[in-house]
Subunit: 565 residues, 2 copies
């Protein structure tokens, strides 16, 4: 079977007017601000006009621990949202805005794929309505005002060696990871070592995703800590008098973006925080709006359930007050085979040929990862549904193996064919999700605000990751003590570790036990509202490969985009 | 008399639907792509649908050599465009998009002012439709691909010491002027010294302004030279396979943005290239569209007539093929008094009190600058009209002095009161412009393409600037010889010098003679299509002051912007 390219499917979609798409969520046309013909911003006045209480069942889509190729979480999210409409449910989908760095790098776009896509994919993958650029601008204005403060006499007494605020750009550019700024002459600033992260890694992005209103955004921006004084006191964006202007720059960005799928299901695209050093979930504002106009709101959490779903529960839901009704775990034959440890999967390269042969034993050999991720959903009192994302190279016996494992754990499980068939291919999955979501559920946060930071870290490490314990480098231990002293101890924690293993070692597959989580350092996103311990090397600025996707992207004679995927 | 703030006037304006504004230019609603409720992009299909030949008289607004405060050129441009409607002319206005750097720095916004503003001013001064961000993204993707090329083995043999492509951000950030990138480890790139310019200084911005279509944009991007090989051969964006992706990033940015004035006159806002190292004029595409649907198209050229107007004639009109019918020279009492050399005017500080006293002699003492700038318009065969931009602190005798000088030069001259009175205050100016534009005119370029680069430079220096001659540093002479050898000799030249003097020395006021233009180095914007000799220090990345405008900008409890000016 051949299937057209994602770009061709996107282009062949008959788009509905956005007014009609919005009406499906009870949003009147007066609440839409069009950006071009295919995207609209939703005015936050929607929050005044919609019913006060959520009407929607709230479903989060997560995954088993993925291979470097990803396991089709966005595609499943879109397929499930579409399938709900086949069941007569008014559904909405909420996802993150993709970063332009990977679009032109190795990964390509992030609009889902096949017949379960957000369209037009080029609008989603390129600038959208400029929110990502607004984050870049607000972040870098704060950086400029910080360095200007040093240059103009440093009245706040900021220690140049303890500045934590870097700069950001939405591009894969390894040469910006570590730089020295302020060279030249006396008029050209203060020399110091710093660097750029990709915009998705900006705390401003995490703030955008977690704010509940424009006023809340303003307050959170003011609380951002950019560094410390010579006396060890935190210095905030408010003290640098930057937060007001940053909020002005972000005034449109706080409004969620409305798009549609290949089947015209409404999609709210909003914010795109990283999934390791940040919480990896789309915005609270989008979910607050969509949850009050739909029967089912399907949202995606980044990486595996130990990462995105854990933060969805313990950071995003803690902030928004919304309660999830079900969680989908995307599983693939290829990822479970990879968890057997018998194959090596590398991003940007084809799968080893042997992995494509029928082999349910390999699937079973990797199944501990699925078992543990099911357990991670259950820990939060939410019913799990395993979605087997079908690939043309899968064999029925391999799907049966996954089914067997999931059922033995008491989880619902279905095969889903949404890539090739759109919503129709995910109807069974939707039925299982509805059944799960209608069960009474006892959603619970994993830890209370009042627990201290170490106990929060240890709870996640031992209960979710399966670690035997946690070790702290001296700098990490000192930072935790400082943060408790600064009054940040009530914040939730966002543990930055590899997404390629339940452990902090990307080479440990399956469900490793008996290992210790090594906390190398701990940083604070006080504005966004979490503390993030760092376990292992976290790359916050990607590089380009030998043949970046950008090399194949162009316009043709009629001005149409070619080569975007 | 007290007048409300620009922001309050902007907010009190009754906006017309953009469809109605567009209809004034013969543009149907199907050609508009709304971005929010107050700005729309104009589809380039307009070029297919409008009459093939320009219908509009084409008027450029320039100025005498300004003080560091600026002399109200944008305000006059807007006032004149509005006044044309009072005369029953279908008018359109074309201006550059302001940079966000100065908006949050010392200068504030750039929407005109008083009752001659582009509204809403916050849309104009903040992101608009994201064109500036698209330029940033396209520029920095090329930079990342260039450094990636070095990192991946440098197959093209690029000499790291002869890389001319820097990075850009739309922020005033002096610490980014000179940086070292590629530090860290082996995986983090190749250490080298480079820096950031402000986005307005990007060659991609100059390309945007001079392109005649999306295809032309694509070709120009491909011709951008990023550096030289060890053998001295130029290396282009096309060779780095970046130009296609850059064009895709710029695909929406090539469409002009439609806004309106305080009197609902249509304004096309498009591109914002620097006025020293680039040509400082808004886009060719916007003028091509507006000139075919209006009776009068009024556009602004950056800085004094020696700078913006000279490039308007010899770079922009050379590229577009459009012929100007009249040129307005904005003159102010304060600027002519400053040209007397008797006062010091400093940006961000109030005028010296003595300058505000009635003193027509001071005006006459500075009048040589006005005489020379009138001459600079005449050199191109275009009739000049002097617009005295009235300030409340002016005295009638001072206006009379300007009138006397202008009339003695045979130029039309009027006092204009558009800041306080809107279009009504500029009706006399509009009448004078109509009279000038209806004269037969013999517009001519100052030099042919075929002249060599040195003779182009010398023509501008002696005829426009009033220099006695030109001197070349050895590096500049070498570069000119190289460019001729590379086949760039047929390009026009864009001389980068201070805008605060007709000469290259900002302290020489009036109309200095007997001086020599020192060409320190020469660079090439091959994609945009000009060579730029650099005379003096050109700052391409501004810094922030002790109290940046950003410190006073915020949102109020209702989410409204405060403090933006």
């Amino acid at each position: 079977m051949t299937i057209p390219s994602d770009l061709d499917i996107s282009r062949a979609t008959a788009l509905k007017p956005l007014e009609d798409v919005a009406a499906q969520l009870g949003l009147g046309a007066h609440l839409l601000e069009p950006y071009g013909r295919t995207v609209a911003k939703i005015s936050l006045d929607a929050l005044e006009e919609l019913p006060e209480r959520p009407t929607a069942r709230y479903v989060v889509v997560s995954a088993i621990t993925p291979t470097p190729l990803g396991e089709g979480k966005t595609t499943t999210t879109v397929g499930l949202g579409q399938a709900m409409r086949h069941l007569g449910k008014r559904s909405a989908i909420a996802i993150r805005q993709p970063s332009m760095g990977p679009t032109f790098g190795i990964k390509g776009g992030a609009a889902g794929g096949g017949y379960s896509q957000v369209v037009p994919m080029e609008a989603l993958n390129l600038h959208l309505t400029g929110d990502m650029h607004a984050v870049t601008s607000a972040h870098n204005l704060l950086a400029a005002m910080l360095d200007n403060h040093l240059h103009k006499g440093n009245a706040l007494g900021i220690d140049p060696h303890r500045i934590t605020w870097r700069r950001v750009l939405d591009v894969n550019d390894r040469d910006l990871r570590t730089i020295v700024t302020g060279l030249g002459g006396r008029a050209d600033g203060t020399p110091r070592q710093t660097g750029f992260d990709i915009t998705a890694a900006s705390e401003v992005m995490a703030v955008l995703a977690l704010s509940t209103s424009l006023q809340d955004l303003r307050r959170r921006l003011g609380r951002i800590v950019v560094g410390y004084t010579h006396d060890g006191e935190p210095v905030t964006a408010e003290q640098l008098r930057a937060a007001g202007a940053m909020a002005v720059i972000m005034r449109e960005a706080i409004k969620p973006n409305l798009m549609q799928t290949t089947e015209n299901t409404p999609v709210l695209v909003h914010a795109g925080p990283f999934g390791n050093i940040a919480h990896g979930n789309s915005s609270v504002v989008a979910d607050r709006i969509a949850s009050r106009g739909a029967d089912y709101l399907v949202t995606e959490a980044g990486f595996g359930a130990d990462m995105g779903a854990e933060r969805f529960f313990n950071i995003k839901c803690r902030t928004s007050g919304l309660r999830p009704d079900a969680a989908v775990l995307v599983a693939t034959v290829r990822a479970l085979k990879a968890h057997s440890g018998r194959y090596e999967v590398v991003a940007g390269k084809p799968l080893p040929a042997a992995m494509l042969e029928e082999n349910p034993d390999d699937v079973l050999a990797g199944a501990d990862n699925l078992r543990k991720q099911i357990d991670n959903i259950r820990l939060h009192g939410v019913p799990p549904v395993v979605a087997i994302n079908a690939f043309p190279t899968d064999h029925p016996s391999e799907h049966d193996a996954i089914r067997e494992v999931a059922e033995a754990e008491g989880a619902r499980v279905t095969v889903s064919n949404h890539f090739l068939e759109g919503g129709k291919g995910a109807v069974e999955l939707a039925e299982a999700v509805v059944a799960a979501a209608e069960e009474p559920n006892d959603f619970q946060l994993l830890y209370p605000d009042s627990a201290d930071l170490r106990s929060k870290i240890e709870t996640i490490a031992t209960k979710v990751y399966g670690a035997a314990g946690v070790s702290y480098q001296p700098a990490a231990a000192r930072a935790l003590a400082d943060y408790e002293a600064n009054g940040y101890g009530t914040l939730p924690v966002c543990i930055a570790k590899t997404h390629l293993s339940l452990s902090s070692d990307p080479t440990l597959l399956g469900a490793p036990t008996g290992w210790t989580l090594p906390v190398r350092e701990v940083r604070a996103s006080v504005g966004a509202g979490f503390i993030y311990p760092i376990c292992g090397d976290m790359r916050t600025m990607p590089g380009l490969g030998s043949h970046p996707a950008a090399e194949s992207i162009d316009i043709d004679d009629r001005g149409q985009i070619t080569g975007l995927s």
